[in-house]
Every structure is written in structure tokens, then in C-alpha cells.
Amino acid sequence: MQDVFNKLMDYARSLEVDFADARMERVEKTLISIQDGVLKELKAGIEEGVAIRVLYRGAWGFASSSEISFESLKKALDTAYAAARTLSYHVKKPARIVELPSKTDIVRAVLKRDPRDVPVDVKIKDYLEYEKMLRGKEYVKSTTVYYADIVGTTFYASTEDRYIEQEKIITWMYTWLTGRINDIIASVRDERGAVDGYTIWDKWDKNEIARKVIDRLEKQLKAKTPKGGVYPAVLAPEIVGVFVHEAFGHLAEADLTTSGSAISDKLGKEIASPLVNIVDDPTLPGGFGTFKYDDEGVETRKAVLIEKGIVKELMVDRQYSVLLGIKPTGNARAESFKVPPLIRMRNTVMLPGDYSKEELFEDIDYGYYLVSFRGGQANLDGTFQVGVQEAYEIVNGEIGEPVRNMSISGNTLDTLKEVDAVAKDFELELGRCGKGQLAYVSDGGPHIRVRKIVIGGAR
């Protein structure tokens, strides 16, 4: 690939572009879906293609091609160049990007067991076995289990003489369980994955996950609904993760910050309790967002978003790096070769503190312990909502009865100020994020206590 790319970049330079890059991807996916004991979908396929970007007089053009011969790439580059030229007449604020030194690097995935070496019938057998364990109880009415492995290699080249090959391999599983007792219907989800190959069943025991999910469902069926209102709460790592990602993380994506997100004027300012430290760290072992180079061929590094309550920096791509004077963080990611990269999170986590997990509960007379989420979303103005699928009352410092159908909401910045204890434990969750494009990300953190949070729930 390197030879074709070299020739292509020579051609790009001959057009006197400010910058151009090419990103070829080859992605092989396998998907298994099981519904109620039936192997419903079995899919395997390959997609391959190239994304080309041209920056000409401060204007960006983009094109993609599913053919990878030099002639097809040249045609795509011409298309991107023409688009950039057209746009250049209308651009008032020319785009500038950070330029990087020339470099060649090849990064291979480190695997314990390559998913390509595991026959599909073995995968099917494993997941059918797991799915069966979900169906033991009478109140379980329906099950859905997905398994996917995605084996991708990215080949990147730019007019800076950079050439980078990087392998990314993930395995992912998702469980959705619906149950009914009399008139009460409830459903719960579970999502997990691995980056070292076909290792999900080495990390977790099938029976144990199944039991956990069934137990969660049973509580959702039998529990009472929460009282709406403002209460203190202890948030478990999974909830902290979704909060850090959805409620805060998106506000610190430089494109959204610049558009006027709730922290647009808060750089260098204290917005959270001094106990709060949040980073987006592409080096965390085992994270879906762990990689050496992003989709603009930029070396990734840890972005320190909040340090002791103060907003330190934002997540940037090549362009926002220059615009905001922030050293490149390597946060540009694209869902596929069909689309240009956007600023996306990687592994976004709150760092652990000093408290023991037990201490967090001690001072709460009445509040809630939030363990697992169903979904979360936030707005640029800093309001957020997280649906909770596993939660308990806290009564006189003790974890009490489970509650069902709960959600939390509020203003992110207000909530970050209300964090008054951060425990020393830590968990990383693997999941997906949608910002127009899908990205595999991780988030997590320790247990934390929040003095006040809005508890909503359908009665």
C-alpha cells in the first residue's frame, strides 16, 4: 500500500494543496444474533476502501473510493480537490491544521486469541450456550444476544510523508432480556467486550453474567418505583462512566465546546469539586478507545480534561489543535472510510480518590445507589439525562430495597460541584457512542457520592 500512497501523495503535492491525506481501511466483521433460543442472524463480510481529504486554500474536500488501484485513488483525490477548490471561494475563516513530522510506523494488535482463528461454529456454540442460561426463569419472556468481532486494519498516508499502518481488533457482546410478572414488564441490558481477541469467555464466566443479568431483571420486575425529587446518591463506576462520557465528555470535544457548549468559557476555570479529575486516556489497557494513532495519523496522548475541579484542556483534532493552541490529542476518529473523521472520545474516565466504597454510604439518611444504566444523553447547554436499570434505596447509610424505572437528570456543571466523595476503586466499561457516526469507546471511574441529583421515574 505504501508505494501506491507515496505516488498518490506526490500527485497531491503537485496540485499545490495545503495538505492531503489518505486513509485506507479493510474491515472484516462477523455478527451472530440469537433470539429466544433461535440463531436468527449469522453474518460475515468484508469492506475495503479509501477516504481522501484535501485541504486547499483553507477549505476541506473529502471523497471516498471502494477501489484501491492508483487510478481510482487519483480519481477520488481529484474529486476531493475539486470540492475543496469550490469551497475555497466561500471560506471566510480558512482552516489551518497542525503539521506533523514525517514518520513511518506499523502497529499490530496484540492478541491472546485471534477471532479469525476461531471457527464460527465454536462462536455460535458459545453464545447459544450463554443464551440458554438466560432462559431458566419463568418470568424471562424474551432474550436477545449479539456477538460481533471486528478486525480492522487502517493504512494512513499524508503529504507530510507520514505512513502508518495500524491494526484494531475488537470483540463485543450485548444482552437484552425482557421479563414479565403479571402486569409488570421490564427489560435490562448488558454490554461488554475485549481488545485482545476472542477472550470474553476467558474474562467472564457465562453463568455469572447470566445470573447477574437475570437478577437485575428480577429486581426491575419486583422493585418499587422511586420517589421523584432531589436526593443524595452514590454512583457506581458504570454510572460514573456514562455520566463522564455523556454529560461532561461531549462538552469537552473541542468542536462542541467552540460551538458554545456549557464549558465554552470555562477553560482554566474551576467547574467541579476539587475531588474531580477526568481524563480521556488512549493508553488504558483493554479499552475500546486504546490506540496509538488516530484517524488523522496523529499520535494519541492522554487529554487531561478536569484536574482537581479545573478544566485543563479539550479533546482536539488537527484543526482545533491550531485553533485553540492545544497540543494534538489524537481524538479524530471516523466510523469508516466512507466518512471524514470527527472529534470523538476514546477512554473517558474519572480518576479514583481516597475514600473506601463503604464510606460513601455512611452519611446518607435517605438517597439512592445507582448501579447500571440503560442509556444516557446530554445537551450542549449541559443538561443531561441517564436512564438507570439497576438502583437501590439507601436508608440510614445502608443499601436498601431495589427501585425500578429510574432516571437521573440535571445540569452537568451543578452535578460536578456536588461530588463530595470519590472512592478508590476503578472499573472500565466498554461500549459504543453515536455522534452521527458510531465509535467504540470506553468509560468508567470509581464509586462517587453526589450530594444532590434529580431523580425522576415513571409512576
Partner: protein
């Protein structure tokens, strides 16, 4: 590649049979997109992408396999067929499989699905339109354009199967839209969006930009309101957001068969206010998802879901139709060539009511107007329970609108549908659902103190 995609589909079906498939289906999409994107008050990027690919579904006995490729040369296609066959053979029988669909005797004529104007528009025209949209929006210094897009797509899809399905269709679509925030004296609105979608002509940039600007400015200067129960009016955007994760899931035949829907065994019973009539209309003129056939080559059609409050039908694809002892309603949907068909509505049309918007606002007295939700995807599709942030939203007081922030509403959509007491006479399609504004008389409103 000189053969048309329908010919390639048909040849590939024959090839799959010759390689040992008992039945085979090939779906091919070829598409072209032109797009200009806005970000942070600038035109960020212009792009042109062409995509094409093939998905092949094979049956070996009662075992199913699916594979796809984005290369349409003979060798890649043959490899894809082998892959589909090999994974099918390593799979497990699905006892419910009764083969692929048969071709219909007659396929519908659809109107308003293709426009030469949209198909032929150049990227330079789109850049000019984007520039105009940006100028109108940012002419008011209080407005920041967070994101915007002017996009056109045109496509050709073809499907063939071993039972004789042999169909193709062409389509175009134009999308213009943006999300903005308005700022004034330290007050910042949440992200506020508007978009227009058309299959047949290019939507007006001016109309969209002015509408969006007005909406954003009117969301400045929020007032505080008290918690309690209020009448809530959902706009077409809010309806699309909330129904997507509740009502739409409830009418899907697969969810009904799998006991994941409250509408199981409810045919011919009253499930909504008699003001509610909802039709799945796969033939809707200028409809977003209108086409000749669905993702399995079955003709699109009109299916009445709710008629004056009474549940009449649900939607099925071939497989789930058979499992329910019914026929497909032409509701197999594929998001692209790499995806297997799944049950989904085409254009869900909620019949309009009698009010004009101003009348409705006036008559409501005190209430809430909601244009979008945060967290709608955390709703519970099985029960209809939701607890979401209403944003953007306005407090209605004697026909006047005042912005409100951080307001949550909670309830049960299926129960609320029984209580709908007013709908506007105008409706728009901004997603799968073509909807008027809908009023629910009593919804729990939670406000952070």
C-alpha cells in the same frame, strides 16, 4: 462493470444456487452523496462519496447465512457467496424458516421518489446554498451555528431471489438542516434544530433558516415553572423522538411475537384516543421511505395500524409474518447492503386533527410545548414508561410561549396515547413519522429546584 445491478443480482442468485444454496437472495445498492457541512459558523467541508455493495442471503435447508462486500467484481462476489454458504452450514437450524418470499403479481407505482433536480445538482450549488444558509443564520449575532448540513443522495437498489423476485428502484433525497444555539446576556439556549427533507425538490434555504432563527431566539430568557401535572404538546420533532423508542417498537411484528409489546392480543381493541389514526404508508407521495418494494422485494403498501383509537394491524416482514400466522406487510427494512432485513415502519402517518397551531396554544391555557427530548432512547419500549428531559421546551401561558430549561417529563406513552385530546391540522415528516402537533392533557412535569 457494465452490467446493471439488477442483472448482477440475478446472476449472483443463480451462482449461489449452483454452489449449493437451496434458496438465495441478492440485494445491491449503488448510491452517490453530495454534502456540504457547517460547523461553528463556518463551512467546514464539502464531500462527494460514491458507494455500492452487495449483500447475499442464502438458505441451506433451514440454516441461514449472510455475507456482503463492497466490491462488485466477479471474484469478490463469488467469494462473498462462498462465505455466506460456509457460515450458513456452520450455523444451527431455525425451525421457523419457511423460505424466502415469492414475487408479487403486481408491484405498485410510486410517486414523488425521484427528482432529476436533486440527482443532478452540483457540489458548487450546494456550497452556495450552505453559504446562504450560514449568512442568514449568523446575520443575527446571537446565533451560533453548531452544525449544519446540505446533502443530496441518489441511489439505485436492486433485489433478486431464487423464487423469481426481480425488482429495482431509483430514489433521490435532499436534506437541509442545522443545529444552533442562541446567546444573549449570558443566557445560552440548548441546541435547537430544524430540518427539511424532500424526495422531489430542493427545500427552501430561506424558509428553513428563518424558522430556525425564530425558534432559537424564542428559547432565550427562560422562566421558572412549578412542578406538577400539565398539558403537554409535542411538536413533530418531539413525536419522532419519543415514538421511535416506544410506539414504533410496539407495532413491530417481531416484538409482538416475542412478547415484547403491549399490543400482543390487542387487535380490534381500543389502545388510543379515538382522535388517533395511524397508517404505515409505504407509498406516501414524497415520503422519506417510500419505495416500490421493501428490503425483501415485497411490494410496499398502506397498512392501517390504529383507526380512531382501535388497533387494526401490526407490521411484519416475511419471516415474522409467517411466525405470526400472517403475511408480510412489506415492512422489511435494510439500512444498507451490509445489513440483513429487519422489521421497521416505512412512513408512519399520524392523521392530523382540526386545530391550527395558534388556536391550540391559546386553548391550552397553561402547558408545555416540547420540541425534542434528551434520553428518549432510555425509554422502556415494552412498558412505554419514559422519563426524559424536554429540550427545547416552552411554557405556554394563554397562547404565549416562554422558554423553560431543565424540565423533565415522565409517564407512560401507551397510557398517554389513550388520552390525546387535540392534534393540529398541519403535519410534517421529519423522520419516519409524519406527524401533527399532539396534545396530552396531563403529564407529570419535574423541575429541578
Amino acid at each position: 462493470m457494465s452490467a446493471s445491478i439488477i442483472e448482477i443480482a440475478s446472476i449472483t442468485v443463480k451462482h449461489a444456487l449452483s454452489r449449493g444454496a437451496d434458496e438465495a437472495e441478492v440485494f445491491i445498492v449503488k448510491s452517490k452523496n453530495n454534502s456540504v457541512e457547517l460547523e461553528n459558523n463556518t463551512i467546514k467541508l464539502a464531500h462527494t462519496t460514491e458507494d455500492r455493495g452487495l449483500g447475499v442471503r442464502v438458505l441451506v435447508g433451514k440454516k441461514i447465512g449472510f455475507s456482503y462486500t463492497n466490491k462488485l467484481d466477479k471474484q469478490s462476489i463469488e467469494k462473498t457467496v462462498e462465505k455466506a454458504l460456509s457460515i450458513a452450514r456452520s450455523g444451527k437450524e431455525d425451525p421457523y424458516i419457511r423460505g424466502l418470499p415469492l414475487p408479487a403479481e403486481k408491484y405498485p407505482r410510486v410517486e414523488g421518489t425521484y427528482s432529476l433536480e436533486i440527482a443532478n445538482i452540483g457540489l458548487d450549488d450546494l456550497v452556495e446554498k450552505a453559504s446562504r444558509m450560514l449568512n442568514i443564520l449568523t446575520h443575527d449575532k446571537r446565533i451560533v451555528v453548531v452544525w449544519g448540513s446540505i446533502t443530496t443522495s441518489s441511489w439505485n437498489v436492486a433485489i433478486a431471489n431464487s423464487n423469481g423476485v426481480y425488482q429495482q428502484d431509483f430514489g433521490t433525497i435532499a436534506f437541509i438542516g442545522a443545529e444552533v444555539v442562541a446567546r444573549e446576556n449570558g443566557d445560552v439556549t440548548p441546541g435547537i434544530s430544524e430540518w427539511d427533507i424532500s424526495r422531489t425538490s430542493f427545500p427552501s434555504i430561506e424558509k428553513l433558516a428563518l424558522r430556525l432563527k425564530e425558534k432559537a431566539i424564542s428559547n432565550l430568557k427562560p422562566v421558572k415553572i412549578d412542578e406538577g401535572s400539565l398539558p403537554v404538546i409535542l411538536t413533530e420533532y418531539a413525536v419522532n423522538s419519543l415514538f421511535a423508542y416506544t410506539f414504533i417498537e410496539a407495532i413491530k411484528g417481531d416484538n409482538v411475537v416475542r412478547e415484547r409489546s403491549p399490543y400482543k392480543d390487542k387487535i380490534n381493541t381500543k389502545v388510543a384516543s379515538e382522535k388517533i389514526t395511524i397508517i404505515d404508508d409505504g407509498l406516501l407521495k414524497n415520503g422519506l421511505n417510500t419505495s416500490i418494494f421493501d428490503g425483501e422485494g415485497i411490494p410496499r403498501r398502506k397498512t392501517t395500524i390504529i383507526e380512531q383509537g382501535v388497533l387494526k394491524n401490526l407490521i411484519y416482514d416475511h419471516y415474522w409474518g409467517l411466525r405470526a400466522g400472517k403475511e408480510s406487510t412489506g415492512n422489511a427494512s435494510r439500512s444498507d447492503y451490509a445489513s440483513m432485513p429487519r422489521v421497521a415502519p416505512s412512513n408512519l402517518v399520524i392523521a392530523p386533527g382540526t386545530y391550527n397551531k395558534n388556536e391550540l396554544l391559546k386553548e391550552t391555557g397553561k402547558g408545555l410545548l416540547v420540541d425534542g427530548f434528551q434520553g428518549a432512547h432510555s425509554s422502556n419500549p415494552e412498558t412505554g414508561e419514559f422519563s426524559v428531559v424536554a429540550t427545547p421546551a416552552w411554557y405556554i401561558e394563554n397562547g404565549e410561549l416562554k422558554a423553560v430549561r431543565g424540565v423533565m417529563i415522565a409517564g407512560n406513552l401507551y397510557k398517554l396515547l389513550e388520552k390525546v385530546d387535540a392534534l393540529t391540522k398541519t403535519s410534517r415528516q421529519v423522520g419516519t413519522i409524519k406527524s401533527p402537533w399532539i396534545r396530552f392533557p396531563n403529564v407529570r412535569v419535574i423541575v429541578k429546584k
